[in-house]
């Protein structure tokens, strides 16, 4: 039996620890994680790009839900551990779940410090730590009003830059005379302030906050000197405190952080701590590089592997604000025994300072040009005597030994053990080695295999240069993601070439586009089959062997190999006769489970494959057709009761929903399409999280699209308002056809819309009446070949062989 490992906190440190542990001892522990944040492990560092809009949350997830499932890890999202019982060896969450452990890891991270001024609890006062904070800031930013950021450190400046990007009027209050004074000397701090102000952000130094005021919500900030700054949003980013309360209550030794030895063990041998909450050798940390080292050490300890000890090292600080390059490392205070070398280029806004002690670098501050950071770091780490190159040191690596100032040559000159990715401690040799040995061709590959550039991303340029260096001509940074290993073409190229070359069968595509495998794989074949169905509706013969089993047999496969069957219930409306027919089928075939789905219809689960045709035959007699609950195609159109019954209904939402579903059922689409029609803005059919939704209003039909409510949650965008039902249908059909023709296989509408831009979709579907009609007509044409009920087709004998064994053997022998 495996031992029980319980982890409190699901941040970046334990996430990394688990990766190492799963590699070293995959089956040793049954792992359970409790996380106060209601989500999976994501790259907290990258919250700033999410705030500024450069990245979407889904791009910064480190371990998606599937990862936990794959590794059999139980993750309790939104469960805060409130007690550790060290006697009983259990932990208990605020939702009352108690779990026992053999080994416990505390990784509770930090909590933002809140300055104890009046008004700190007013709505509109936020900290900057997690996705909820970012979402709250984004909400506040919608008003385009004024924001005050208290704190001119790394987090405060990243928050300010992000809010400014989002259209807010931002003021940064900093209590010290210069920004980021813990990482920058005053000269660099001054340059930084100028760069921040150049982006339209106001900076007030030596600003001491006295109070935050407002009536029921934030209205402004008052400084000690009486200055009043109006604001509707206040972000406090004044520092963090290790989150130690839980450990303290459990009686563990706690100082500034939870005290651990150099193997991450707390004062209780069964309990480890790591991450920002841990204190090792008198240090607590707030950057990921040392936390990742802790993760390595802790994993080795848990796996009883190598005897790895934690050693302190300095981590460089970089600011992730696009367009502002700064780099700071080590100790740069002035001192008797120290010398410094400085380079200033005022016109270019460059400042470089290297602090030396005994001819060795102990600190570096770079502003405006930071490419040599890694090189200085390397010299510092190795304590290289720099006397020889003293005169040219400050100009950087390119000037040493007469080498050219070509950045590629500079990277080429780096030693194999020079650190490229500070966050993950990955050196040059490891990256070039992986590129050669594993045959990596792009940045994502390198990130996947070595983790380099996978955290804060500031070494991305260096990694790309290493790719260039190692692969030479073969490296093409603009290369598109190929569809799969069978081709080097991306989805868009394949779609384009199918049309351009008039390719009409899968073998033709594979031949003409030089597929590398004889008959493709389970990724490309379904995609090609869809593209051909969509582009040549009247000519292409659907290839069933290239469809996923569900679409091949028109039912959903279940974990035990049985199937589920979901008939259409147009718009969610049913009748006594239909319900009776379902009841009869359930009795006759002894169907073990009948369930109302989330899509307003009924699912019958646990049907044997052999019985499917007979089940459909009976359902068909009662008028049912397949609900395509399995299809990358039109699924459900949810409706509410609308004007027929509801006292608030403004239009016949039920009728429109049924009309859409009857018009569009049977069509194949790149990914599933779910719709809904609500009779009024109360929106009981939840139309605003669907692929396509309609919200009826007095003046007509508001058409929505690009919502999501599955793996991602996203409200819809409004396409526009139309006056009549006919127009609504035409717009929706045209929109779906545009999506059918352009999207990549498995790409839901919201992802496609994000890629090509909602403005472009509006232009083609709403503004350009001609285009809309053409799309509409192409959809109508393709429906002629699609609207065949697959169930009745099979009941009448098509593919009947699929549903029964080709032979039964051995039964007589067994009976003997």
């Amino acid at each position: 039996m495996s031992e029980k490992l319980v982890i409190i906190g699901n941040g970046m440190a334990p996430g990394r620890m688990l990766e190492h542990l799963l590699e070293a001892a995959p089956d040793r522990y049954a792992v359970t994680i409790f996380n106060a944040e209601p989500r999976v492990n994501y790259d907290r560092i990258m919250l700033s790009p999410v705030l500024s809009g450069e990245k979407a949350f889904e791009e910064i997830v480190i371990h998606g839900d599937g990862w936990y499932i794959k590794h059999g890890i139980t993750l309790y999202k939104g469960h805060r551990i409130v007690a550790i019982d060290r006697e009983a060896k259990t932990v208990t969450s605020d939702h009352g779940v108690t779990e026992s452990y053999d080994r416990l890891v505390i990784a509770t991270g930090s909590v933002p410090f809140i300055i104890p001024v009046p008004g700190k609890d007013l709505p509109g006062v936020l900290t900057y730590r997690d996705l909820d904070d970012v979402n709250a800031m984004l909400l506040a930013a919608q008003s385009r009003a004024k924001a005050v950021v208290i704190g001119g450190g790394l987090l405060g400046l990243e928050a300010a830059a992000g809010l400014k990007e989002r259209g807010m009027d931002v003021t940064v209050l900093h209590v010290m005379p210069t920004l980021m004074e813990r990482q920058l000397d005053p000269a660099a701090g001054y340059l930084l302030q100028k760069a921040v102000e150049a982006r339209g952000i106001k900076v007030m130094a030596k600003a001491n906050t006295k109070a935050i005021f407002g009536n029921g919500k934030v209205e402004g900030v008052e400084l000690m000197d009486g200055t009043i700054i109006p604001a509707t949003l206040v972000v406090m980013a004044v520092g963090i405190r290790p989150s130690t309360a839980l450990a303290k209550e459990a009686g563990l030794e706690v100082n500034r952080g939870i005290v651990v030895d150099d193997r991450m063990r707390t004062s209780d041998p069964a309990i480890m701590a790591l991450g920002e909450c841990a204190e090792v050798g008198g240090h607590v940390y707030g950057l990921v590089a040392p936390l990742y080292e802790m993760a390595r050490v802790a994993a080795a300890g848990l796996a009883d592997g190598e005897d790895r000890r934690f050693v302190h090292s300095d981590t460089p600080t970089k600011l992730k604000v696009t367009g502002i390059d700064l780099y700071s490392l080590g100790d740069f205070a002035d001192g008797e025994d120290r010398e410094e070398i400085i380079l200033r280029d005022a016109s270019a806004g460059i400042y470089k300072r290297v602090v030396l002690q005994d001819n060795r670098i102990i600190g570096t501050v770079l502003f405006g040009e930071t490419a040599d950071g890694a090189w200085f770091n390397d010299l510092k780490k190795k304590a290289t005597d720099i006397s020889e190159m003293r005169d040219t040191l400050i100009f950087g690596q390119a000037f040493q030994g007469g080498a050219s100032s070509d950045p590629l040559a500079a990277v080429a000159a780096l030693a194999d053990d020079a650190e490229i990715c500070g966050c993950n401690g990955v050196c040059k040799g490891k990256i070039t080695g992986a590129i050669t040995v594993k045959g990596l061709t792009g940045l994502d590959d390198v990130r996947g295999h070595t983790k380099a550039s996978a955290s804060c991303g500031s070494c991305t340029g260096l990694v790309e240069q290493l790719l260039k260096l190692t692969l030479g001509e073969a490296y093409n940074p603009a290369a598109v993601q190929p569809m799969c290993g069978c081709t080097s073409l991306g989805h868009d190229d394949v779609r384009r070439l199918i049309k351009a070359k008039g390719l009409k069968t899968i073998p033709a595509v594979m031949q003409e586009l030089e597929w590398k495998t004889s008959c493709g794989c389970a990724k490309c074949r379904p995609a090609l089959n869809y593209y051909l169905v969509c582009d040549w509706p009247d000519q292409y013969a659907d290839d069933y062997q290239s469809r996923f089993i569900n679409e091949r047999v028109h039912a959903n496969i279940q974990k035990d190999g049985t199937y589920s069957v979901v008939p259409r219930m147009w718009g969610g409306v049913t009748s006594a006769a239909e319900l009776r027919a379902i009841a009869d089928v359930v009795d006759k075939f002894e169907i073990p489970m009948v369930k109302v789905t989330g899509g307003q219809r009924i699912d019958m689960l646990g049907i044997r494959k052999e019985d499917l045709p007979a089940v459909w035959s009976d359902l068909g007699k009662a008028g049912f057709v397949s609900g395509h609950a399995y299809a990358k195609g039109l699924r459900t159109v949810k409706t509410c009761v609308g004007t027929d019954w509801c006292r608030f209904g403004t239009q016949d939402s039920t009728g429109l929903g049924i009309r859409i579903e009857k018009f569009m059922w049977g069509s194949w689409t790149p990914a599933k399409v779910k719709m809904a029609v609500s009779g009024c803005p109360r929106n009981c059919a939840e139309a605003t999280c669907k692929d396509v939704g309609v919200v009826c209003v007095e003046s007509g039909y508001e058409i929505h699209f690009a919502g999501a409510a599955g793996l991602d949650i996203k409200g819809t965008e409004v396409l526009g308002l139309v006056k009549t039902e006919d127009e609504a249908l035409e717009v929706i059909v045209a929109l779906v056809q545009m999506y059918r023709e352009q999207a990549r296989y498995l790409e839901r509408i919201y992802k496609w819309a994000k890629r090509i831009g909602t403005a472009e979709i509006k232009r083609q579907i709403l503004d350009d009446g001609e285009k809309r009609k053409v799309y509409y007509q192409r959809f109508v044409f393709s429906q002629k070949f699609a609207q065949v009920d697959p169930w009745s087709e099979r009941v009448s004998g098509k593919d009947k062989h699929e549903f029964r064994p080709m032979a039964s053997v051995g039964f007589a022998e067994a009976a003997e």
Partner: protein, 109 residues
């Protein structure tokens, strides 16, 4: 070795599979694009998914439940996954397909 006839190649669609029922469970019989035929237990080494229902490509099948790729020749999982499923001796004479009875029996043992 006793060979049992289970049907003809034409009974299986190219890049497809059909099942043979036995008292010990189903056997999946595959036909590749180039008309090679293979028989393996219809039971994925991962979580028992019915391999006969997967997509066939080259001499491999992708399990319909969680996408493991299983070699039809060796029964081994390909790529990063580890596990294997029993393969059964099979021969084709003309159009007819036979599988070995001993193999069936050994499964019962």
């Amino acid at each position: 070795m006793t060979w049992i006839a289970i049907g003809a190649i034409a009974d299986i669609p190219p890049r497809g599979a059909r099942c043979v029922a036995t008292p010990q469970g189903k056997i999946a019989v595959f036909r590749t694009a180039d008309d090679q035929v293979f028989a393996i237990d219809d039971h994925c080494p991962h979580k028992g998914g019915p391999l006969s229902q997967g997509i066939v490509h080259g001499a491999a099948v992708t399990c319909p439940l969680h996408n493991w790729v299983i070699s039809l020749e060796t029964g081994k999982a390909l790529g990063a996954d580890e596990g294997s499923v029993r393969t059964l001796p099979l021969k084709v004479e003309g159009e007819r397909i036979f599988i070995a009875l001993e193999a069936l029996a050994s499964k019962a043992a």
